[in-house]
Symmetry: none
Subunit: 428 residues, 2 copies
Amino acid sequence: MRRVIFIILDGLGDRPITDLGYKTPLQTALKPNIDMLASEGSVGLVHPISPGVPPGSDSAHLSYFGYDPNIENPGRGSLEALGYGIKIEEGTIAFRVNFATLSGDVIIDRRAGRIESEYASQLADEVNMKIGTIDGFKFKLINTLDHRGILLVSGSKVSSEITDTDPHVTGVPPLKCKPLEAASNPENAIRTAEAINKYLKHVKDVLHKSEVNKNRIIKGKPPANIIIIRGAGVKPSLESFHERWGLKAACIAGGPLYKGVAAALGMDIVNVPGATGRVNSNFNSKFKYAARIVREYDFVFVHIKATDIASHDMKPLLKVELIEKIDRGIEIINNISSDDVLIVLTGDHSTSCITGMHTGDPVPILFHGGVRVDEVKSFDEVSAIMGGLGFIRGLDIMPLVLDAADRAEEYGIKTSSKPRMYRMYYNR
Amino acid sequence: MRRVIFIILDGLGDRPITDLGYKTPLQTALKPNIDMLASEGSVGLVHPISPGVPPGSDSAHLSYFGYDPNIENPGRGSLEALGYGIKIEEGTIAFRVNFATLSGDVIIDRRAGRIESEYASQLADEVNMKIGTIDGFKFKLINTLDHRGILLVSGSKVSSEITDTDPHVTGVPPLKCKPLEAASNPENAIRTAEAINKYLKHVKDVLHKSEVNKNRIIKGKPPANIIIIRGAGVKPSLESFHERWGLKAACIAGGPLYKGVAAALGMDIVNVPGATGRVNSNFNSKFKYAARIVREYDFVFVHIKATDIASHDMKPLLKVELIEKIDRGIEIINNISSDDVLIVLTGDHSTSCITGMHTGDPVPILFHGGVRVDEVKSFDEVSAIMGGLGFIRGLDIMPLVLDAADRAEEYGIKTSSKPRMYRMYYNR
């Protein structure tokens, strides 16, 4: 029986880049340690959701941990809130918020020049001071990091079955919040959406008049004159990872969303010095801690955001550098005995350095430690085609992990009165 | 963002043929242009429905366009009718009809010697003149092309939940039309089937007495002395392709079924000189038009029937020749910039030149334009095993197309109150 170190390099997969001789960053990077793991283990390609579908990071992670994102996703807003330590209660919904810049009637910057927390938190305070309750719904705006925030909406009739106002692109107006067509309680969804639209209009007025923005304009900086919201989420009520898979789990991550997913699944969050969730994060520190705490935990989830940031910023050379830097950190992991520990390394999705967007391309994945050894010697999007894991889906990962770690229960055995959760995935 | 040219070579896949040195026609053909596309792109194998299931062309096409044929197929009869410009209204069902030859009580020719339209249309007129209404159901027989026709059955209690009388093989009697066991309205299904059986008996009498058939017998030709019917279809009410996928689409095809599927999905039908839906079709003309109209459309569906006809006729050498001729036409497509256009090339199913029947073997598929480049240099059933697309299913194709064309929406984003239709396929 093995313990597991489960490493996700966010947005790892990519498409061929002309400047890299029509290779992907992963094909270009020198990464002897990762390639060593690949050559001693089994490699494959994972469709996080299903072929061709570009996943959000929340859905991809849930899927990898064995939670069907189609039916078990409490919503990005509440997962991200949880990552900042903001607990969502019944009767409250949470949105991920961006402070953004409107010019005329179109959004010209979805991040308001990446306004610093110092100013964004002042703006949030002003908004909360001037707007509290609308149509029986209570609103609270929380600035988290830089241009990012969380919006809490509370009320006995609140509904999360509503759309985003963030259009996810610039050059267009913000969207109206609308009830989902398939809302289970359409009346509550309509009421909530209407109150939110009123609130966002008020917020715009408050932000317009704020001294903070007047000063930004004087300094030639884009004003944070609107907020755009997305990913309405409710209080997470997911079965814990331990209950579902029998594994005591810990999370080492910098980014709040990933901590939030882990917290929602009841994993312990282990804070590591230098883990920032940014490109400057201390990867070695994360791997050192992982190697240490895997003695106490059955499953250690290590998340590195940097590769995704380089991709969203369309910087393939930076992505190559980061992969190489991560590879040097992997040496720490490679020294762990494969008799004791199963290492899984993959990405949560592909992010294209050409478009800066998530894509539906499958992501290379490797298993190392006791598993079959295929003929793949290098870890990249093309070499992985020949791998022993074949093409799998996100929801296949946990059954594969349990199996490779010699922890799987034989199908059909009824030692527990409760069905093992992964049975629901067998017959997809 | 790319536009898409989507080429279907009907019945493209095959099995090894002894006379071809135990290779398939696709493995045998010299096809430098198609191989160039394969070597610059991603290749895979598609199960049109699921492994081992031989699809009908209607189901395969629906599946490829992202419509689940299990729940979204209005029926081959009405699709084919639509391809001839025959609109089906509520209260009417449509069948595909063959004029056939009965000897004793068994069918000896399912196409009555491929009787020409000149005579078959006379027979249809005679039938319509002598038989109009039976048990409250109105019947109309339309000859379309050669031995082919459409039968319309109308009535307030008409049901399409009934079986074919075409046994799909020779040497056996025509089948009785029966209600489906799972019919939602068994009473209507029983009534409809009974009226149809009476009608077909009358038709047999009329055809038997026709001068047309007497003349055929004198000339030693097989008489068209019965009709056999299949694929009861209702008025199509499918969400349009544009609504489902956001793509403005056009169809270039000769065969009526393919035009009918495209019309049912709201695609524009572009008629091209020399496109016959037969082995003599002008392939170059189709590709020239595709290259031209892809500037006005997001998605151009090009269908070539010839490869399937050669397979049904069990002529592997002809199939090789046709693939080589098509390949010369593909050169026109190859000259389009891969920055602007995604090319997808595949077959709707495999058809065996040995048995002359559709098989459930997966079909090679290639994507060219911005996608990952795998190590496959040749486009055939065996080389494709190593391709970067892996093994996919028909319903995966549209999500993969949107993704490769940089038109996919990230999973979980709620910018619209209506779910994107492909979400229904995520968890298969």
